[in-house]
C-alpha cells in the first residue's frame, strides 16, 4: 500500500515579508498548484492515503479560493483517503467552514483516534475507526492526536498500539528528547519510544528530517512542499511510503533506516523523499573582497548565481572590499532582477581601510581618515563605514551605504 506523508503546506500564506504583493500572489498560486499536483501524482501512482500532519493552511483565516481548491481536490479523489491533522496555524479554520465533510476526509481530535485501513475488492481504500477490543494483527492503522496544553502531558501514556499491526502515528509539533512542561508543541521522543510506533508522521518543521524511533520505527518530518522564504532554501517535497504486507513472513527485528527502507511489524516499509517544488529559494553569499568596481561584482555574481530563471534568489554580498570600491547596489539589483522570478540583494560587506595609505596624505581626505581612525569610541566597522561615506562624498559620488 502506498501512502504519502506531507505537512506544513501553509496554503494561503501571505509571504509579503519577503515578496511584494504581485510576487506573493503568484507564489500563493504556486502553493495551491503544488498541492493539486501532489494529489494528482498520488492518484496516478495508486496511492491510497495522504497524511497531512498539520499546517495545511497558514492561518485560521482561509481564503475561499484556497478552501474551495482543497475541498474540491479532496472531493474529486474518492480513491484516496486524506488523514488531516490540524496544526497550530490553521486550527479549525478549514473544518469549521465546511458545510459537509467529504467521506474520504478523516480528521482527528484532542483524544487519540485510530483508523484501520483496508482495501476492498475494487481496490478502493476504506478506513474504519478502531474501537477498544477490536481484534488486532495484520492491519495498517493511522492514529492521530491534536496536541494541546491539556492532553500533551498524558498523550503518550494513553497511546496503546498492537505490535501485530503496522502503526502510523500523526502528530504536529517539535520533537525533543524530552517534553517541556507548559509547551504542548514539544514532543518528547522518550515518551513515544517503545510504543509500537512503526512510523511517526510529524509536521511542524519545514525541512525534511528522519531518524530512528526505538525499537523498530522511525520519526519523520517531510518538510514543506514549497519554500516560502529565503530561510527555506533547498529541496522540499513529501515522503512516499510503500508498505508491503509480509505478515505471513516471520517478523524481522532489525530495522533498516537508510532514508529509503524501514522495517515494521510484519510489514516492510520503503520510504522515499519526493521533491516537488515548482520554484526553489536560493541564498548565495558572494565574497567581493577582491572586487573594486560594480562590473567586477556583477561578473563574480553572474558566475555564482547559476540558478533557473523561475527561482527566487537572494544574494548576500560579503567580504571586505577596499573602502574606495565603487559599488552600486541599485545597478546590481536591477541587473539581476530581470534574471530571476525574485531577486533580493543584501549588502553585508564591510569596507576595508588601509590606513597606511592615508598616513602621509596631506589632503583633507587624509586628514579625515586619520581623524576617524584616532577616535577610540568607534568600532573598526563604524570607522570603515564613516570613512567610506566621507570618501564618497569628497569624490562627489553617490553615497551608497
Amino acid at each position: 500500500m502506498k501512502i504519502i506523508h506531507c505537512a506544513d503546506l501553509h496554503l494561503d500564506s501571505r509571504m509579503t515579508s519577503v515578496l511584494n504583493t504581485t510576487e506573493a500572489r503568484e507564489r500563493r498560486a504556486d502553493l495551491l498548484k503544488t498541492f493539486m499536483n501532489m494529489v494528482r501524482s498520488a492518484s496516478e501512482g495508486s496511492v491510497k492515503a495522504i497524511l497531512i500532519s498539520g499546517d495545511l493552511f497558514d492561518s485560521e483565516r482561509i481564503s475561499s479560493n484556497a478552501r474551495n481548491t482543497v475541498f474540491e481536490t479532496i472531493l474529486t479523489h474518492p480513491g484516496i483517503l486524506f488523514f488531516y491533522l490540524t496544526g497550530n496555524h490553521e486550527r479549525d479554520g478549514f473544518l469549521n467552514r465546511l458545510s459537509r465533510r467529504p467521506d474520504n476526509l478523516l480528521t482527528f481530535g484532542p483524544s487519540w483516534c485510530t483508523y484501520a485501513m483496508r482495501i476492498d475488492r475494487a481496490g478502493r481504500p476504506h478506513a474504519e475507526p478502531v474501537e477498544e477490543g477490536d481484534p488486532a494483527g495484520g492491519r495498517i492503522t493511522i492514529t492521530g492526536l491534536e496536541l494541546n496544553e491539556a492532553n500533551a502531558p498524558v498523550a503518550a501514556a494513553g497511546l496503546h498500539l498492537s505490535p501485530e499491526d503496522f502503526n502510523i502515528v500523526m502528530l504536529h509539533g517539535q520533537v525533543e528528547d524530552y517534553p517541556v512542561k507548559g509547551r504542548p508543541e514539544i514532543i518528547g521522543l522518550n515518551q513515544y519510544a517503545n510504543r509500537n510506533i512503526d512510523y511517526l508522521a510529524l509536521g511542524h518543521v519545514h525541512k525534511y528530517h528522519q531518524e530512528v524511533l526505538p525499537p523498530n520505527g522511525a520519526w519523520c518530518y517531510p518538510g514543506c512542499l514549497e519554500g516560502r522564504g529565503f530561510d527555506e532554501c533547498g529541496e522540499h517535497g513529501y515522503v512516499l511510503l510503500d508498505i508491503e504486507d509480509r505478515t505471513e513472513i516471520q517478523r524481522r527485528e532489525v530495522p533498516v533506516l537508510t532514508g529509503r527502507g524501514l522495517m515494521g511489524s510484519g510489514f516492510v516499509l520503503n520510504g522515499s523523499f519526493v521533491s516537488v517544488p515548482q520554484r526553489h529559494f536560493h541564498e548565495e553569499s558572494i565574497d567581493i573582497t577582491d572586487c573594486t568596481s560594480t562590473p567586477m561584482i556583477l561578473s563574480k555574481m553572474e558566475k555564482q548565481l547559476n540558478f533557473p530563471p523561475d527561482d527566487l534568489v537572494k544574494a548576500v554580498l560579503t567580504g571586505t572590499p577596499d573602502v574606495g570600491c565603487e559599488k552600486n547596489t541599485v545597478q546590481i539589483q536591477n541587473y539581476f532582477q530581470a534574471k530571476f522570478f525574485v531577486f533580493r540583494l543584501v549588502d553585508q560587506s564591510r569596507p576595508a581601510v588601509d590606513y597606511n595609505t592615508y598616513a602621509l596624505d596631506a589632503s583633507l581626505k587624509g586628514e579625515f581618515v586619520r581623524t576617524v581612525k584616532e577616535d577610540p569610541d568607534l568600532s573598526d566597522d563604524e570607522k570603515a563605514q564613516i570613512i567610506r561615506c566621507g570618501i564618497l562624498a569628497l569624490a562627489g559620488e553617490d553615497i551608497d551605504l
Partner: protein
C-alpha cells in the same frame, strides 16, 4: 604676477581709458564718481568674469551694473607678467548674457594668440576661485574684514591638483547637510521623523489584532456550532425521509404478497418440468462435460477409421515390404555396421588402386625381358658406369690437350735447333713473282681497254676475259707484295728470347722440353689405360662400340641399367603377392557380409554399388517398420477407446448401441434440455428467495397492516403526516440556521478584512522598521561623517594657524604699533581679541579696528598663500574708517607691503594718498 597696463574700451562709466602700472605702490587718486570701484571691478571681471548674472536686480547683476553708459564695445584688455611671460587678455561682453562674450589671450611680446588660460584665467593665475579672490587679493571699499573660504584653506595648505579636495569641503558639507536635513528625525519634514510617526500609526492599527483575531475565532466557533446543528438537522431530515419511504412501502404489502405467491407458483411449475426430463435418464444424471468428452471421442473414432484406411500401404509398397522383410528377416544391419562395410570398401578400393600401380604393363614386361637378355652376360652397376663416364671425360680432356703439348714440344725443339745453327738469310721465293703479276695484270687491263676503244674492237668476250685475267693478276701480285712486306718487317724486329740476346734461356728451354716430353708420354699412357678399361666393360656385356661412340654408349647403358633395375623391382614386388592377398581378404570379407543379405550375389559384383543398395534397402525397411508400428498403435488405441466408451455407456445405465456417437448426441440433447429447465427453476427460486430476503416476509404473510407498520418504523405512533410536519419544522430551522450562518460569515468577512488590513499594516511596519533602521543608520553615518569632516578641516587648518597668526601680528604692529591688544586665531583662521580676560569676537570692536584686523588678516593669509610669485593687490580705499593715528600706520603698512607686492591703491582723498601717482 604683475599688471603692466590696461585699456578700458567701455565699462560702466569708464570709457576709452588706458592705464599703465609699475611695481610697488600704484596709487590712483580720483574724486568720487570717477569710477574707482568700477575700475576695481573691471580688473575683477577681466580675471573672473561676471557674477550674479541671474540676479534681476541691476545692482546685483554685474553685467547690467557695469554695462557701458555710452554704449559702444563693452570690455577692454589687460596686460600682465605671469611666470616671466607677458600676456594680454582681451574681453568683450554682450549687454544681456554671455552668448556674445569674446575672450582672447595673447603673448604680449609676439602678439600671437596663446591658450595658457582657461575661461576663468584668475583661477589659473591666483589658484583661487572668485569668492576666495574677493576675500584676499581684492580688498574692496567697506569690505575689508573677511572670512576664510575652503579655497583659501586649500591655498594656504599649498595643496594642488588632486589633493585639493579642501576646495570641495563646503560643497561636500552642503551636500551632507542637505541629505541629513532630508532625513533628520528632529524636524517634521525629515523622513525619519515621518517614518517614526508612520510606524506609531501602524502600531496603533496592529494593536487591535488580538481582539480581532479572538472575535474571528469566536465567530468561527459560532459558525462551527451552527454547522453542527445544521448537520444534525440534515441527518434527522435524512432519517425522516427514510421513515417516510418505509411507511409508503408498507402500503404495497398486499400487492407484494400476491407477487410472492406468483413467484412460488412459477417455481413449482418449473420444478415439475425439470423432474419430468430428469426421469428420462436411467441412472444418475451424467456429467455434461463427460458426455461432451465422450462424444468427442466417439466422433474421433469415426474420423479415425477413415484416416486409418488412408494410412494403409499400397500394393507396390506391400510388395516392396515383403521383399525387404525376406532380406532382413533375421537381421537388420545397424547403421554402424553398414558404415564399417563402407569404410572397408574404401580401404579395398585404395589397395586395389595401389596394386594396379605395381603391376607391369605388357610393354613394360617386354622391355624388362629384352633388357634382361641384353644384360644376360653382365649387368654393370650404375656406380661402375658413372665412374667409367667420369674416366672417359678425363681421357677426352687429356686427349684434347695432347696435340697442343706436342706442338709446343716441337716448337721448343725447333727453337733449340735453330739457335744451334747460324743465322742464314732465307731465299725470297716470291720476291719477284708479285711484281711480275702486277705488271702483267696492268698490261692485260690496258690491252683490253685499248682493244675495246679501238674502232675495230668491241666489247666482246675475249676482251672481257683479258681484262678479267689482268685484274686477277693485279690482285694476286698485290697480295704477294703485301705478304712480302710483312715478313720483312718481322725479320727486321729482334727475337725476344733469342739466345743471342739471352744465353741463360737456352738451358731452361731444354728442361722445359724434357718436362713436356714426360707429360706427353704420361698422358698417352693414361688414355690407353682408360680406353682399355672401358673396352673391357663393353666386352663383358658383349657389345662392340666404336671409340667415338664410347661416351654416348656409356650414358645409354647407365640409363638402361636403372630402368631395368626399376622394372625388375616392380616385377619382384608384384610377384611377391602380399597386397593381392590383403585385397583378396577384404573382398572376401565384404562378399561374406553382403552375401548375408543377398544370397544370389555374384563374386564379381560391384561392392560399392551393392553396399549403397543395402543402405537404401535398410532405410526403406525401417520406414516400413515404423509405418506398420504406427498403424498398430492406432488400431490398438481405437479398440481401447471403443471398449472404454462402451464401458462408460454401461456405467451410466445405457446399453451401447451400434452408433455410439449418435447415442451420445441424443443424451447430450437431453442434458441440455434438463439444464435449461434447471436454470428456469433456479431463476424462479432465486426470485422468490430474493423477494423473501428483501421483504419482511413475516409482515407480508401475516397480513396485519397496523402491527407490521409499527414494527417497521420502530416509532409507535409515527405517521406520514407527523413526519411531514417534522420535516417542515426542520426546514424552517435549517433556513434560520443558514441565515445565522450567512450573518456570521459576513461578520467573518468583515473581521477578515480588518485583519487583512492589520496584516498589511504588520507587513508595512516590518518593512518600515527595516527602512527606518536603514535610514537611521544612514543618518547617523552622515552626521558622523559631517562631524569628522569638520574636525578634519579644523585639524587641516590648525597646521597653518601659528604661521598665519605671526604674519597677522607683523602687519598689525605696522598699522597699530602701540596698541597692545592680544589676538588669537581659531582653526577657521578667525581672529578673536582677548579683552578683559575673555576671548571676544572682533564684531564687538569698532569699524576701524575691524578694518584693521581684516586687512592684516588678509595680508597674513596672502603671505602664506603666495610664497613665490606674489600677486598684485587691489586696495579700494580700505582705510576710510581709520583714525588719524592709524592712518599714519597705514602709510607704513603700505610702504612695507609695496616692497613685496604690486599694489593698485584706489582712494578719493589726498589725505589717504600715500604714494606718488604714476597714473594719469
Amino acid at each position: 604676477m604683475k599688471l603692466l597696463s590696461c585699456h578700458i574700451e567701455n565699462f560702466g562709466r569708464l570709457a576709452n581709458l588706458d592705464l599703465e602700472f609699475h611695481g610697488g605702490l600704484n596709487p590712483i587718486l580720483r574724486e568720487n564718481g570717477w569710477g574707482k570701484s568700477t575700475f576695481a571691478h573691471f580688473l575683477l571681471v577681466m580675471f573672473y568674469g561676471f557674477a550674479n548674472e541671474r540676479k534681476k536686480n541691476d545692482l546685483e547683476n554685474e553685467r547690467r551694473r557695469f554695462a557701458p553708459w555710452q554704449n559702444g564695445v563693452y570690455g577692454g584688455n589687460i596686460t600682465f607678467i605671469w611666470r616671466d611671460r607677458k600676456y594680454r587678455l582681451e574681453r568683450t561682453f554682450g549687454p544681456r548674457d554671455g552668448k556674445e562674450d569674446s575672450f582672447a589671450q595673447f603673448d604680449a611680446d609676439t602678439g600671437l594668440a596663446c591658450h595658457d588660460f582657461s575661461a576663468v584665467p584668475g583661477e589659473d593665475i591666483f589658484s583661487l576661485d572668485r569668492p576666495s579672490f574677493e576675500r584676499t587679493i581684492f580688498i574692496g571699499q567697506q569690505s575689508v574684514h573677511t572670512d576664510v573660504t575652503a579655497g583659501i584653506h586649500a591655498k594656504i595648505g599649498d595643496l594642488t591638483g588632486e589633493q585639493a579636495d579642501m576646495t570641495r569641503y563646503d560643497e561636500v558639507q552642503k551636500r551632507l547637510k542637505s541629505e541629513t536635513d532630508r532625513l533628520t528625525p528632529s524636524r517634521k519634514t525629515g523622513e525619519i521623523h515621518q517614518l517614526r510617526n508612520h510606524l506609531a500609526e501602524l502600531s496603533a492599527v496592529i494593536s487591535g489584532k488580538a481582539g480581532e483575531e479572538n472575535e474571528y475565532h469566536q465567530n468561527n466557533l459560532l459558525i462551527a456550532s451552527l454547522q453542527d446543528k445544521k448537520r444534525d438537522l440534515l441527518s434527522e431530515l435524512d432519517r425522516l425521509q427514510c421513515d417516510q419511504r418505509t411507511l409508503s412501502r408498507e402500503k404495497d404489502l398486499g400487492a407484494k404478497r400476491e407477487l410472492y405467491e406468483n413467484f412460488r407458483r412459477e417455481e413449482t411449475t418449473a420444478l415439475k418440468n425439470r423432474d419430468a426430463v430428469r426421469r428420462q435418464f436411467p441412472d444418475e444424471i451424467p456429467n455434461p462435460a463427460e458426455i461432451d468428452e465422450w462424444l468427442e471421442t466417439a466422433n474421433t473414432l469415426e474420423r479415425g477409421s477413415a484416416s486409418q484406411e488412408d494410412a494403409d500401404l499400397s500394393p507396390e509398397q506391400q510388395q516392396e515390404y515383403i521383399r525387404l522383410r525376406s532380406i532382413f528377416r533375421d537381421n537388420v544391419p545397424e547403421e554402424s555396421t553398414i558404415a564399417r562395410a563402407e569404410e572397408l570398401n574404401r580401404t579395398l578400393q585404395i589397395a586395389v588402386h595401389r596394386a594396379s600401380k605395381s603391376r607391369l604393363s605388357p610393354e613394360e614386361e617386354k622391355k624388362r625381358q629384352d633388357e634382361a637378355a641384353f644384360f644376360a652376360n653382365y649387368l654393370p652397376k650404375s656406380d661402375e658406369l658413372s665412374e667409367a663416364i667420369r674416366n672417359w671425360n678425363r681421357r677426352n680432356a687429356i686427349a684434347s690437350a695432347l696435340p697442343q703439348k706436342k706442338a709446343n714440344a716441337r716448337l721448343l725443339k725447333n727453337v733449340l735447333d735453330r739457335d744451334a745453327k747460324d743465322n742464314r738469310p732465307r731465299p725470297a721465293a716470291h720476291s719477284f713473282a708479285g711484281i711480275f703479276l702486277i705488271f702483267c695484270g696492268i698490261a692485260m687491263i690496258a690491252a683490253g681497254f685499248f682493244i675495246s676503244r679501238s674502232p675495230a674492237g668491241g666489247f666482246g668476250i675475249p676482251v672481257v676475259a683479258l681484262m678479267g685475267a689482268g685484274i686477277l693478276g693485279l690482285l694476286i701480285g698485290s697480295v704477294l707484295e703485301f705478304a712480302k712486306g710483312r715478313r720483312q718487317n718481322k725479320e727486321k724486329r729482334p727475337a725476344p728470347y733469342s739466345d743471342a740476346q739471352n744465353p741463360a734461356l737456352t738451358e731452361s728451354s731444354e728442361e722445359e722440353l724434357q718436362q713436356l716430353s714426360y707429360e706427353i708420354h704420361a698422358d698417352e699412357e693414361e688414355i690407353d689405360e682408360v680406353e682399355q678399361e672401358t673396352q673391357a666393360i663393353f666386352e663383358r656385356i658383349g657389345i662392340d662400340v666404336p671409340i667415338e661412340d664410347t661416351y654416348q654408349t656409356l650414358y645409354d647403358l647407365r640409363g638402361k641399367v636403372r630402368e631395368y633395375r626399376e622394372l625388375e623391382h616392380r616385377s619382384d614386388r608384384f610377384l611377391s603377392g602380399e597386397e593381392n592377398r590383403k585385397i583378396s581378404q577384404m573382398e572376401a570379407q565384404l562378399y561374406r557380409f553382403l552375401h548375408t543379405f543377398y544370397p544370389d550375389l555374384e563374386e564379381d559384383v560391384d561392392m560399392s554399388q551393392t553396399i549403397q543398395e543395402l543402405k537404401y534397402d535398410v532405410r526403406r525397411y525401417r520406414e516400413f517398420l515404423k509405418q506398420k508400428e504406427k498403424q498398430q498403435m492406432v488400431s490398438d488405441r481405437r479398440t481401447r477407446s471403443e471398449n472404454e466408451l462402451r464401458e462408460y455407456l454401461r456405467s451410466i445405465g445405457y446399453l451401447p448401441e451400434r452408433d455410439m456417437a449418435k447415442q451420445l448426441s441424443r443424451i447430450r440433447e437431453q442434458l441440455r434440455q434438463l439444464a435449461s429447465l434447471e436454470e428456469i427453476y433456479q431463476n424462479r427460486k432465486e426470485a422468490r428467495e430474493q423477494f423473501e430476503n428483501h421483504h419482511n416476509m413475516g409482515q407480508i404473510l401475516a397480513g396485519a397492516a397496523d402491527s407490521s407498520r409499527s414494527e417497521a418504523s420502530g416509532k409507535p405512533g409515527q405517521t406520514l403526516e407527523s413526519i411531514a410536519t417534522r420535516q417542515e419544522e426542520i426546514h424552517a430551522q435549517i433556513s434560520d440556521l443558514e441565515r445565522k450562518l450567512q450573518t456570521c460569515q459576513r461578520d467573518s468577512e468583515k473581521i477578515n478584512d480588518r485583519l487583512e488590513e492589520i496584516a498589511d499594516a504588520e507587513n508595512e511596519r516590518e518593512l518600515s522598521a527595516q527602512r527606518l533602521n536603514k535610514l537611521e543608520h544612514r543618518y547617523n553615518l552622515l552626521m558622523a561623517t559631517r562631524r569628522y569632516l569638520e574636525e578634519a578641516r579644523a585639524r587641516f587648518s590648525a597646521r597653518f594657524m601659528e604661521p598665519v597668526r605671526k604674519k597677522y601680528m607683523k602687519y598689525y604692529l605696522l598699522l597699530s604699533p602701540e596698541d597692545g591688544k592680544e589676538y588669537t586665531l581659531d582653526a577657521d583662521l578667525n581672529i578673536r581679541v582677548r579683552e578683559a580676560g575673555a576671548s571676544r569676537d572682533v564684531g564687538y570692536l569698532s569699524e576701524g579696528y575691524q578694518d584693521l584686523i581684516g586687512l592684516c588678516r588678509r595680508m597674513a593669509m596672502i603671505d602664506i598663500m603666495y610664497k613665490n610669485e606674489k600677486p598684485f593687490l587691489l586696495f579700494d580705499d580700505p582705510f576710510v574708517n581709520l583714525d588719524d593715528r592709524k592712518l599714519s600706520g597705514a602709510r607704513d603698512f603700505l610702504s612695507k607691503i609695496a616692497e613685496n607686492y604690486q599694489i593698485i591703491y584706489l582712494t578719493c582723498q589726498n589725505a589717504r594718498n600715500y604714494g606718488e601717482s604714476h597714473l594719469p
